[in-house]
């Protein structure tokens, strides 16, 4: 845990040494939120397959973007850190201090996670304060969905970090997964709008369950209402998180055997 705090502090110091770093994060999120809002205005009442959130596409898409952003970062940040360290040749120095692999993973994602919370808050505040969406939201329900969802995504993220460590080039797991998430996960258009067989496929993705649970929570759904999503996501987290950790440990060991922690 000390290691994770040390990374958090260091990442924050580096980040804040760039003047305007926070400004750009907030401005970027606001820009996206604005675009989503205008698309919603343009679509208007034609968005008839959106039953929730008073039928407003803007509210639907804004919620999708806000949480997609957060979960997607949970997924991608580990492999991004690993490949960044690999390219800079700093993976070995990071593995030298006496910290375990799972601590290292936690350390890699703690600060990016804080940043993504900042961005998600910007989206939510934009919708809630400026546009008056989600006034009956149930925070507890949202949290109950978010925690197992984020853990699942971290587990998949660790798997994908392991694959980066082993294969170096790109990150097939993350790529395949992000394409599927963008199209099937229901962030930008409702799963119900897709053909039946795609809907079945979408049910395999954690994002589908996460976003449907979060949307219920935003509409005021109680813990009981989101219980099915929480159950699915918890089961997924229980599988994905240990699998990801084991895979990463195995990948580190294998890289040490091959001497492939360094670019050669």
């Amino acid at each position: 845990m000390t290691a994770a705090v040390a990374y958090l502090r260091r990442d924050f110091l580096v980040w804040s040494s760039y003047r305007l770093a926070a400004f750009w994060q907030v401005a970027g999120a606001l820009g996206i939120a604005g675009i989503v809002y205008f698309i919603g205005e343009a679509v208007g009442d034609r968005a008839n397959s959106i039953p929730e959130e008073n039928g407003s596409y803007a509210a639907f898409a804004l919620a999708g973007v806000a949480f997609f952003d957060m979960l997607f970062r949970g997924l991608g940040t580990l492999s991004a850190s690993v490949s960044e360290h690999q390219r800079a040749g700093t993976l070995e120095p990071m593995l030298l201090p006496p910290i375990r692999e799972h601590e290292l993973l936690l350390s890699f994602c703690l600060f990016p996670f804080c940043i993504s919370m900042l961005r998600t808050s910007v989206f939510l505040i934009f919708g809630f304060v400026l546009l008056g969406f989600w006034d009956s939201a149930n925070g507890l329900s949202i949290l109950a969905v978010l925690v197992p969802a984020q853990l699942t995504f971290l587990g998949i993220g660790a798997l994908s970090a392991a694959s980066v460590l082993l294969l170096k080039q790109g990150d097939p797991i993350r790529l395949a997964y992000s394409v599927a998430m963008l199209t099937l996960g229901g962030a930008f258009f409702p799963v119900d709008a897709m053909p039946g067989w795609l809907q079945q496929l979408a049910l395999l993705l954690p994002l589908t369950h996460a976003l449907s649970g979060i949307r219920e929570g935003l509409d005021g759904g109680s813990l009981v209402d989101v219980a099915p999503q929480v159950a699915v996501l918890t089961a997924l987290a229980v599988v994905c998180l240990p699998a990801g950790l084991l895979a990463f440990r195995w990948a580190v060991r294998r890289a040490k055997q091959e001497g492939s922690l360094v670019e050669y």
Binding site: A6, R10, L13, V14, E92, P97, L167, K256, G259
Partner: protein, 338 residues
């Protein structure tokens, strides 16, 4: 519990020649870069690992610091197995790299060290005190709050040394610490290491291809080339291994070139070179430790010669190095694959 700080047993490292997904499914040929290394390092010793580029020095020290897992054989550091007890080993060693890339240039030296201090389990006041103390030790206290991208390469290496010492390790491993700095900074770094880093409680491993550095700092040196330790010992041992005769140079005037025959019986061999100054330089080879020199000197004087200088010529570390590499090449197999 052994008394050795490092102990290797038939240590072999072989790197795969290709990587990628295919290596996950079948084993590809590997090139052997360390071939059955057996060595021990004593507590408190400054142990040099010397050898030309590509000899395997870095590979050896990476195995000892748990960053590379050997192909076969084993290594123990402070009594702990480097593979099985990797975490415990890392807790008790410090490492200094030659090409320092692991600092964050937008942060000050102080902040960088504080970060690593936390990774070694130091926190709060204790961490700050340790960092200040080390910055002073390496002579950077005045630049503690300067962002590291303003540091010269010598200053970065000093910071690296400070980082290596954060946990007050029993074993400090340095891999070519002066490789990236200019000669003057290198000299200062060596002085720093000699005067402030080395102390009787600490064992130091210094990988280097600079023989002068090895000579200046190390108690014992292992020469690696072609994957094997060609020789190991202190300077005298190493010289002894190659230099069978003592060599002396004597500069003489007042005698004809042809008249040195009277020395023949006293030495194993003699060579005479006429110098521009009209003097002659004699190169005498004699059995080591024998009484030849005083006898030779007296005889030259008795024959009417004047002696201007008399000096013993020793093999330089560079010459020993060259011979060790040559010996490695002669005994090396073509290229070992496993």
């Amino acid at each position: 519990m052994t008394q050795f700080v490092v102990e290797t047993d038939d240590l072999v490292m072989a790197y795969p020649q290709q990587r990628g997904w295919r290596s996950l499914f079948k084993s590809l040929p590997k090139k052997v870069v360390l071939d059955r290394i057996n060595t021990t390092i004593n507590r408190g010793e400054i142990f040099g690992v010397a050898g030309p580029n590509g000899a395997g020095k870095t590979t050896l020290v990476k195995i000892l610091s748990t960053l590379v897992i050997p192909f076969s054989g084993s290594a123990r550091v402070l009594g702990l197995d480097v593979v099985e007890d990797s975490l415990a080993v890392r807790r008790r060693i410090g490492v200094v790299y030659g090409d320092e890339r692991s600092f964050f240039w937008r942060l000050s030296g102080f902040e960088n060290l504080l970060f690593y201090a936390s990774l070694y389990g130091l926190s709060g006041k204790e961490a700050r005190r340790r960092v200040s103390q080390l910055l002073e030790l390496v002579g950077l206290q005045e630049h503690a709050d300067l962002r590291m991208h303003h540091y010269s390469s010598g200053m970065k290496q000093r910071t690296a040394i400070a980082r290596g010492l954060l946990s007050d390790p029993e074993l400090l491993i340095m891999d070519e610490p002066t490789r990236t700095v200019d000669p003057l900074a290198a000299m200062e770094l060596r002085a720093l290491v000699k005067e402030r880093v080395i102390d009787s409680r600490r064992t130091v491993i210094l990988a280097t291809n600079d023989m002068g550095e090895a000579e200046q700092l190390c108690d014992r040196v292992a020469f690696i080339s072609h994957g094997k330790i060609q020789m190991v010992g202190n300077l005298e041992d190493l010289r002894g291994a190659f230099q069978l005769d003592e060599i002396h140079h004597v500069v003489v005037s007042g005698l004809q070139r042809s008249s040195f025959g009277f020395l023949r019986d006293l030495v194993s061999s003699i060579e005479v070179v006429a110098l521009d100054t009209g003097q002659h330089q004699l190169e005498l080879r004699t059995a080591p430790g024998g009484p030849a020199v005083p006898v030779v000197v007296r005889r030259i004087v008795e024959e009417g010669g004047d002696i201007w200088s008399c000096s013993r010529k020793q093999l330089s570390m560079d010459e020993i190095f060259a011979m060790a590499v040559e010996r490695g090449r002669q005994t090396a197999a073509e290229e070992v694959l496993v």
